[in-house]
């Protein structure tokens, strides 16, 4: 059969199709269907519900106090001023210090960075050991860790105060770093254990046959494959530790207060005029770090999952 014949046949077949009555090809979908209206309507309402407070905060923080006293909290600022932001960052008074949130910000950085690094470093090794090297007593150890995740923090506050005092770390940043690292351990270990357990066991076996040991397999085989779970762990820890208030207020001194405690002191001060615009600016500033982490690592997270996917 020549090519001409085939094309002729194909065109007649196509011609015949147009004569066919009834459904053919993809089913037509209406843009405005009940399903779509419901779906997008719900999404819109939820989005507004969550975004409205943020809108009020941003708008208020850009207004001067006279304008705020007018009481129109939803109206955009008549005169945009960044004065409250500057004040919140550098001159607002908390207790004796009048250098704004900047002190708390750097304290929080000095708390968060080492806590995140330390807790993830230890938890990833824990998880790897629990998932791949079933050592004696591994199950018991794991159960103890998990139980730890369910004990309310408040129960342990006072004993930890005593422990920190005895080892001379009470009130110091390193004491708080240790506390954060320990309290992050159960959930992070569980996270890493489950991730490493989901990796093909044959990979681990192949590496053992190739002669790699405990650290060799961890550093050269497992770590390069675990970017997604590290991103998840970093998100969890950065937001958790940055947003922590309880441990910060209990285990540090005014000089070393983290940002959240300072924010509280600014917002909840009972003396003088309530500076709503400064409070709003301070709150947004404090919440900025977790927000940025979400925005940056959210993308990285997806990319990490895509890069780590090798089908068998």
């Amino acid at each position: 059969m020549s090519i001409a014949d085939i094309t002729a046949q194909a065109s007649t077949a196509a011609g015949a199709r147009q004569d066919i009555a009834g459904p053919y090809g993809p089913k037509p979908r209406r843009v405005i269907s009940r399903r779509n209206v419901f779906l997008y309507g719900t999404l819109f309402v939820m989005a507004v519900y969550y975004l409205l407070p943020l809108y009020v905060m941003v708008v208020t923080s850009l207004k001067g106090m006279p304008e705020i006293r007018l009481g129109n909290i939803f109206s955009p600022p008549l005169e945009i001023t960044f004065e409250p932001w500057v004040k919140a960052w550098s001159t607002a008074c908390t207790g004796l210090n009048c250098d704004g949130l900047s002190r708390g910000f750097w304290n929080s950085v000095r708390i968060t960075v080492p806590s995140v690094l330390l807790s993830i470093a230890i938890a990833s090794v824990n998880g790897y050991a629990l998932a791949n090297w079933r050592f004696k007593g591994a199950d018991t150890f794991f159960i103890i860790l998990i139980v730890g995740a369910f004990i309310p923090y408040q129960v342990m506050i006072y004993p930890i105060v005593i422990i920190l005092r005895e080892i001379g770390l009470y009130g110091s940043l390193s004491g708080l770093v240790i506390v954060h690292s320990i309290f992050g351990m159960p959930i992070l270990t569980l996270l890493f254990r489950n991730y490493f357990a989901s990796m093909p066991e044959e990979l681990f076996r192949a590496a053992r046959v190739d002669g790699a040991g405990f650290w060799g397999i961890f550093l050269r085989i497992m770590l390069p494959m675990s970017l997604p779970i590290f991103v998840v762990a970093i998100i969890l820890q950065v937001t958790g530790i940055w947003n922590d208030f309880l441990f910060g207020v209990v285990y540090t001194r005014p000089d070393t207060y983290p940002m959240t405690v300072q924010l509280n002191n600014i917002v909840n001060s009972v003396q003088g005029v309530k500076e709503y615009n400064v409070n709003m600016a301070a709150t947004i500033l404090t919440g900025l770090v977790p927000l940025i982490v979400y925005f940056i690592s959210g993308k990285l997270f997806v990319r990490g999952i895509a890069a780590g996917a090798v089908k068998g």
Partner: protein, 365 residues
């Protein structure tokens, strides 16, 4: 232990328990130098477990393992002189093919020139030179498995262990790589232990097959012996596709000698080679579909009449299904001689080709 010295791999009284579950039971296996042994069995029979024990990836409960005359029971996998190829290839996804191949050598601290030399050799043997700079994700299944074999190859090991290496490939690739593995064995002359549940792989590759069930080696023999003289009903039924026909009946002492009887069917067993002295009683008669001939005339001392029930054309030949003593029975015939449905046919075969099993114990008679 003297027996261990002239063998490549020697497994002595090996047992493995997971808690109360016995996976391997006092298992003994001697593999000669350069031999290709296939461990064959259904899933859960302990064949992969045995391989992992040989590799040192599982601790044994009892017994010991010798490789090249050295007791390696307590050795780490890397010190046993073995290379292993896994079903899922187990390539390190973040490394290029070259890095995958060299990983073991780099861990061992081999000099760079030596690594390059060995990779070049392995890549040449396996024809993967153009792939060396690719990541595993950019390879096809067959290529990945070749790289996985290469990883064992570069380590210059005494014994190759294959854990169902072809199970993840499609039928065509499987057949191709099967031939390649056989060629590789001819070229390298290494000892190879190969685990599979695929009887075709076992039959085609093995010098000897160890058929396993329930953690016990049922039969260890050359493929043809296992195929023609299975020691029990399990082995007989596991090997062969289409499977061997089984007819339950009785062994009877007739005037002229022993005969098999089931309902109105009586088969004199004139030329049958008994494995042990026969005694009357219930037996299972087994014969492979290709050993039965259809309408082949009067060459046999008996004739069995039956009606064709279903015909399955398979291209090269045709499988004819009928009922014998109310039990399913298949016959393999050439395509030209295919009978029609419901056609009356007569069956004939040489009793020498048959197998008789004790119905109660399943062992060969």
């Amino acid at each position: 232990m003297t027996a261990a010295n002239d063998t490549s791999v020697s497994i002595q009284d090996l047992s493995l328990n997971f808690g109360a579950v016995t996976v391997l039971e006092t298992l003994n296996l001697d593999v000669a130098d350069g031999e290709f042994i296939v461990l064959l069995g259904p899933s859960g029979c302990g064949k992969s477990t045995l391989l992992n024990c040989i590799a040192g990836l599982l601790d044994v409960s009892e017994g010991r393992i010798f490789i090249k005359g050295k007791n390696v029971t307590w050795e780490e996998p890397k010190d046993r002189g073995i290379g292993m190829v896994f079903q899922s290839y187990a390539l390190y996804p973040q490394m290029t093919v070259e890095k995958n191949l060299s990983f073991g050598l780099r861990v061992a601290g081999t000099p760079r020139e030596e690594i390059a030399k060995r990779i070049a050799r392995a890549a040449e043997i396996l024809q993967i030179e153009p792939l060396l700079q690719r990541k595993p994700a950019a390879l096809s299944g067959g290529q990945r498995q070749r790289v996985a074999i290469g990883r064992a190859l570069v380590r210059d090991v005494d014994v190759f262990l294959f854990d169902e290496p072809l199970s993840n490939l499609d039928a065509k690739l499987r057949a191709e790589l099967r031939v390649e593995i056989k060629l590789l064995h001819r070229k390298l002359q290494n000892t190879m232990i190969y685990v599979t549940h695929d009887q075709i792989e076992a039959m085609t590759l093995a010098d000897r097959i160890a058929v396993m069930k329930g953690g016990v080696i049922q039969q260890l023999d050359a493929p043809q012996t296992i195929y023609n003289r299975p020691v029990n009903r399990f082995v007989a039924g596991f090997l062969g596709s289409p499977a061997m026909n089984f007819v339950d009946g009785r062994l009877e002492d007739a005037d002229g000698g022993w005969r098999f009887a089931a309902e109105d069917i009586k088969i004199p067993l004139g030329t049958y080679d008994f494995a042990k002295p026969p005694a009357p009683g219930p037996v299972t008669f087994g014969i492979r579909p290709e050993h039965v001939s259809l309408n082949s005339g009067t060459g046999w001392p008996f004739s069995i009449a039956a009606n064709v029930e279903v015909v399955e054309p398979m291209g090269s030949d045709t499988l004819v299904w009928l009922k014998l003593a109310q039990q399913n029975f298949s016959v393999r015939v050439t395509s030209e001689r295919t009978p029609k449905n419901d056609e009356a046919v007569t069956l004939g075969f040489d009793p020498m080709r048959a197998s008789l099993f004790d119905t109660a114990t399943g062992t060969r008679i």
